[in-house]
Amino acid sequence: MNHKHIKELLPIFLYGDLSPDETAEVRQHLETCTECRGELESLKAFNAVLSGLPAVEVTGELLNEARQELRAALRRETVKQSLWERVAERAGKIFAPRYRFAFSAAAMLLAGVGIGYAIFYRTGFEQTKQNGMPLVSETSQNSRQSVNGGFLRGGTRTDNLHFLNLDPQSGEVEFTFDAVTPMRVKGNVNDEQVQKVMAHAIVNSDNPGVRLKTVSALAEQGEQLRDADPAVKSALITALKTDGNPGVRSEALRALMQMPFDKEIKEAVLFVLLHDKNSGMRVAAINSLELTSHEKRMSDADILRALKKKVQSDDTNYVRLQARTVLQEVSQ
């Protein structure tokens, strides 16, 4: 008989988990084998020692604590979810018309309106009048527990939206804004709703720091930007063409160049090349075009025409030179 095999079965045998055949096999062996009987006894003793040790006992009290803490955590989760939904919804509503305006007029955006104010107050106010529902923190009516009794209720002026942080490792982004009390919501930069909020911030925030941080956070996403919400692309294009701050425009270009290079992005880059007053931006545009031309092995007629125009008439010497170099390389 194979002692080793039997010994391997013994712990399972003691737990009563062997198949009937195996159980019979072990029993039969034990009858005749002192060595394995000894092993069984010492295993039993070992089990007894372990089982006799004090352990953390799950009392009703502990279970209750765990349940209470879970309930609190779920509440935070629900509030967070509905906050993002709300924020995104508001952002979406305002975003569309403003975006068209910005795009066609290439004008300065309304200044002086805080983004949070724009999101929550303006549209929120109308909604409050209609149905008196809370603005930000609506929860399901089925919800047994009131999620946030009274906080952020009707017409709350919500202000001071700040982009705080991006953790490049996890993709967590963080905003704060003031409602009745200062609040902070966190979400993932890859989340569609979060992206809508970011898109909104890029186009509508009157704070260049917020815009710059938001655009940079997106640019940091690299390859992942390929799957970004369409609102993000539109916002970046708007920023690239119209943002008053060259830093924001430059970061917007960097972010856009990580997305699939399509007609819209091409047009935006050409717009910068032909119209941006900042020569650094024009050179950056030329370099971006060179990069994509290399990658895609394409010599696009629009790009060639724009480059030629630059070679002939850009008022900055360096831009003309750069355009000439790239034009030669691209048209080869």
């Binding site: 391997e8 712990p11 399972i12 737990y15 988990d17 010492s42 295993l43 003793a45 070992f46 089990n47 007894a48 020692v49 372990l50 089982s51 040790l53 004090p54 352990a55 953390v56 006992e57 799950v58 009392t59 009290e61 502990l62 279970l63 209750n64 604590e65 765990a66 349940r67 803490e69 879970l70 309930r71 955590a73 779920l74 989760e77 629900t78 929860t139 399901s140 089925n142 919800s143 047994r144 527990q145």
Partner: protein, 191 residues
Amino acid sequence: MAPHEIELIEKARSGDTGAFEALVYQYDKQVLTIAARYVNSSDDAKDIYQEVFLRVYKGLKKFQLRSEFSTWIFRIATNVCLSYHSRRKRRAHVSLDQEQEVSDGEASHGVEIVSEEHSPHQQTVNAELSARVEEAMDALSPQQKIIFTLKHYQGYKLNEIALMLKCSEGTVKKQLFTAVRRLREALKEFA
């Protein structure tokens, strides 16, 4: 799956937290018990508990109604255990005179240290042994540790454990055997 469970799941999905609680309160004590045994700490166990049910809550939308709900919960529970790193890893070594303090502290968190009346000598041996067992358990791979916990302390069947861990019964057997062997080696002076 029981019809009442499907109904609860659907309500919970639509945001009914009462239904969610009714749903998970069928299994949450078992989850907490597994966690408590696995980490041997009530605070860590509660952390695990919360992480498990937050994942359940978030995952509910994607849960396929044709699978068994309890299996799914326990699968999440074992996964959370496997990837859990104690935040406080206190009590790595319980020295003898600290023992009483630790018991008091834990009791205030709703935990009782289950032990019978022992002679001072017996208490000393137990404290030392407990510390050594915890050490030996921590030296196991997370998979061996959870398998041993589920089997030895909770008495789950091997096929149930295999379902939770999404592995074969053969693997469970092998890992269980290895766990027992390694624990016995580490604790041979005590038993």
